[in-house]
């Protein structure tokens, strides 16, 4: 099923979905767009497939036999920062937030248009590599942009690429307050129809990793009614 010519492939996508037709359809659409893909139809086999396939992105259904999509997401997150896009049939706030909190970078609600899916997959796979090889800092957090590493007080902090991008985006312009819409555009690469809950949840996750006290954030500060900015000091 994977394309033989490796150089053409824009990336490898692991599709974890128990619905065979949808999985095949996803494969077709992804192949049209130049993505390689592998289908896994059970939650409890997802990790094995992940290890074997080493994908650049995971498309993960929430309802899976064997192991729930949320748990699969947590397991992948525990060992890798690879982008995860959740496929969900539920647009209720609780389900979406639960999915994002378990580590997904983004979600897409069924039924979706193929173009929408492709746009999101592209945005996540072709990460806008921040130009410049400089070192940024917010407070005692040091960001090595070229090396993709973050340290706080000398200790390395493990961030997913998305969280890293979010932090770099804020750190580059510490004087600016970013609205959620601007962050969605600059970090996620969306222009329209985006869900600002994405930003809220990822800011929470980022804080839980880099703040000393996530309840009283010093690195990523909320500006009430506007958005977020990098902490001073």
């Amino acid at each position: 099923m994977s394309q033989p010519v490796e150089s053409v492939s824009k990336g490898r996508v692991l599709v974890v979905d128990d619905d065979a037709s949808l999985a095949e359809m996803l494969t077709i659409v992804l192949r049209q767009e130049g993505f390689d893909s592998l289908v896994c139809d059970r939650g409890d086999r997802a990790m094995a497939a992940f290890h074997e396939y080493r994908p650049d992105l995971v498309l993960l259904d929430l309802m899976l036999p064997g192991l729930d999509g949320i748990d699969v997401c947590k397991e992948i997150r525990s060992e890798s920062g690879v982008p995860i896009v959740m496929l969900t049939a539920k647009s209720d706030t609780i389900d979406v937030v639960l999915g994002l909190e378990s580590g997904a970078d983004d979600y897409i609600v069924k039924p979706f248009k193929p173009k929408e899916l492709v746009a999101r997959v592209r945005a996540r796979v072709r990460r806008l590599d921040p130009p410049g090889n400089d070192t940024l800092s917010i407070g005692d957090v040091q960001i090595d942009v070229a090396g993709h590493s973050v340290t706080r007080g000398g200790r390395a902090v493990n961030l997913t690429p998305l969280e890293f991008d979010l932090l770099v985006c804020l750190a580059r312009k510490p004087w600016q307050v970013f609205t959620r819409e601007i962050l969605l555009e600059q970090v996620w690469g969306y222009r329209h129809q985006a869900d600002t809950r994405l930003v809220n949840v990822h800011v929470q996750r980022l804080r839980s990793k880099i703040e000393h006290d996530p309840e009283n954030p010093e690195v990523v500060i909320t500006v009430r009614g506007v958005g977020y900015k990098a902490g001073t000091s």
């Binding site: 619905d19 037709s21 949808l22 359809m25 996803l26 077709i28 659409v29 049209q32 309802m63 049939a89 539920k90 209720d92 706030t93 069924k110 039924p111 979706f112 248009k113 193929p114 173009k115 899916l117």
Partner: protein
Amino acid sequence: MSGRTLPAAVRRGLTLWRRSIQARVVLSTVVLSALVLIGVGWFLLQQTRDGLLDHRVSAVVAEANEETRSARLALEGALGTDLDASTQRTELVNPIIERGAVRGFSVALMKPGPEQSGGTSIFSPGLDLASIPDSLREHFVDHTTTARTFTQINAGGAHPESVPGVVVGSTIRLPADGSVYTLYYLFPLDEEQETLNLVTRSLATAAGVLLVLVAGLTWLVTRQVVTPVRMAREVAERLAAGQLQERLRVRGEDDLARLATSFNQMASNLQRQIRQLEELSRVQRRFVSDVSHELRTPLTTVRMASDVIHDAKQGLDPVTARAAELLQTELDRFETLLTDLLEISRFDAGAAVLDPEDVNLVDVVHRVVESSRLLADQRGSTLIVRAPDEPCLAEADVRRVERIVRNLVGNAIDHAESGDVLIIVAHDDQAASVAVRDYGVGLAPGESAMVFNRFWRADPARARSTGGTGLGLSIALEDAHLHGGWLQAWGRPGEGSQFRLTLPRHLGQTLRHSPIPLVPTDAEEKV
């Protein structure tokens, strides 16, 4: 002013009176008992006093008569001329005065009529002659019979203050000067007064003790009734607050116990009903969620397949290409319908929740107009917004409000028949409102209530041109109700229609009026 500056104690007392049956019953019982006791006591005192006085007065009169008789006897025995009048008077009266001093009465000998100058009066030492009332003296001007009256006696000496007493007067003729004199005997009634005082004090004490007893008894008796009622009230309040497992304790078999039993039965029934409803609602929500998932997954596949075919339609023959196009548009409609249905079932299940914030309706209207402009242009309609410069704020769920306005505007464009669509925004300190006016076919009488029915069509024969699902206005109405707001329609055949959304400024406030009239001003004169 007095109403506002009532002392706190009085206000507390009034509150207690209003709110406590016990206080009311105790107080009214005490007041009534006090009235009865005062009446009975007054009657008893009257009886005692009359009895005492009658007894004493008859004794007094007898004694006075006896004295007068012996005085007359003494005068008759005396010679008419051997003494002058003053000596005779002294000799006559002094023994009586002495006896009076021993037995406790005072004596006075006077000429009848008002007091004259010249010392013809002889009286007990220290006696104030004013103690003999003038009326009695007047009496002896014309009469010679014995008379008596009550008075205040100021006898001086042993009785320095005036005490109640009885005066008995009788006339004697003095042989020395042949004139008529009156002998007054003044008997103090202080012993009777003391007896009466004692009786009064005893009665008052007894009444006081009785009142306290009555108050205590009433308090105890009402407490027996009021305490269970109060407990029932507390339990009812807790039930109302959602603590459905609360029950009353049933003790004994009396009326209160039966009340408690019925109350508990009612609570159990309520609890069961509520549990059932909760269970139903949970099942419904679960079902909606499952249907959602089960329908959406295949729809996604179909949708993607259709897109792939649609993208490749250049390579297809015209018939298949058209089929692909139809498939595409109908899938869009199907998707919208599914979304709307799920939304409606969410309302039905009571699972719809608000995500409120301060929403500026002017912004919402401009966003909706922006996104609907393309559709309006296709239909040849112009969207006109009439909004104030300042923001029209309402505490609302922006997603839902935008959906309502989008529905209203879309609906108006559908029925405007290429006419203008006017969108009015207004607010006051209570409410914010959006009205959408079109000048199209309008609504027949009675239809303005039916437009919000699910899948309702003004004219079943009329083709549905714009893929509306028929649920848009129903959802909009549910959305408005979720905010505690109004969504109302006005319409007249040939004159178009107006849909008005009114939202309270703050969630939970009750709407009383809308800043925009439901019947548009340009249609009023034809009423």
